[in-house]
């Protein structure tokens, strides 16, 4: 079921406010949808934090122009890293299910 090899990926954070509250929630929600273990770091050498932990992701406070590194391990590791990179690269688009005031 698992093929062992960790999957890595990185992406430049271009979101104006960086990895603040709303982007953090989106990233965490997306990560939670995968069964793989997923970690995130704001520098290549870490420290690595659990991408499914909203408190840790928000506490990382990654500013704009940070290169975010992801690594995942598990059955859907590849899809997970691809989806997370896509979320960051596409600048955290609003999901249709979310109502946006203003």
């Amino acid at each position: 079921m698992t093929d062992g090899a960790p999957v890595n990926g990185s992406v430049l954070l271009t979101h104006e406010v960086g990895l603040h509250a709303r982007p953090s929630v989106k990233l965490t929600k997306l990560a939670k949808g995968f069964s793989s273990k997923i970690e995130l770091a704001a520098a290549e050498g870490g420290p690595w934090i659990d991408a499914k932990s909203i408190v840790k992701v928000m506490a990382a406070k990654a500013p704009k122009h940070t290169v975010l590194h992801f690594r995942a391990e598990g059955p859907d590791a590849e899809e997970a890293v691809a989806a997370l990179i896509d979320l960051v690269a596409s600048d955290f688009p609003e999901q249709p299910s979310e109502s946006v005031a203003r």
Binding site: V25, K29, G33, Q95, V100, A101
Partner: protein, 130 residues
């Protein structure tokens, strides 16, 4: 449905309670059962056991309900409300020791992912200064 822990926000101010709930809905979405209550029945600042009970009912989930409170009375009234719940529900409602707005957003994010009540509470409380 009802596969996510519910969140209840209890503030002395109806505006604060509603505002915190708005933030949860906007940031986390509508999939998590959510209810809020604030103010005393006379229209002033305060909390009421009765409206807290009703809020727990609105946000009820078989997985339980996590309550976020602001100051003293909100906490004691929430605890009183829990004591007045039917016995089979009492063990499934907790008051989180966390800041009301941040705690509600964190708890709801965790609940959204299908976490248990204990995990939801711990996530909200992770925020509190050590």
């Amino acid at each position: 449905m009802n596969d996510k822990v519910g969140i209840v926000i209890v503030s002395h101010s109806p505006d604060v309670a509603k505002g915190a709930a708005d933030m949860v809905r906007q940031m986390v979405g509508n999939e998590v059962p959510l209810a809020f209550t604030g103010g005393d029945p006379g229209g002033g600042l305060g909390t009421s056991v009765e409206t807290i009970l009703a809020a727990i009912d609105r946000a009820w989930s078989e997985k339980g309900v996590a309550i976020l409170v602001d100051l003293g009375g909100a906490e004691t009234n929430s605890e009183m409300a829990i004591e007045m719940l039917p016995e089979d529900r009492q063990g499934r409602v907790v008051v989180c020791n966390a800041p009301i707005v941040e705690g509600a957003v964190m708890a709801a994010t965790e609940a959204w992912g299908g976490a248990t009540l204990d995990e939801v509470r711990r996530t909200a409380e992770e925020l509190s200064p050590a």
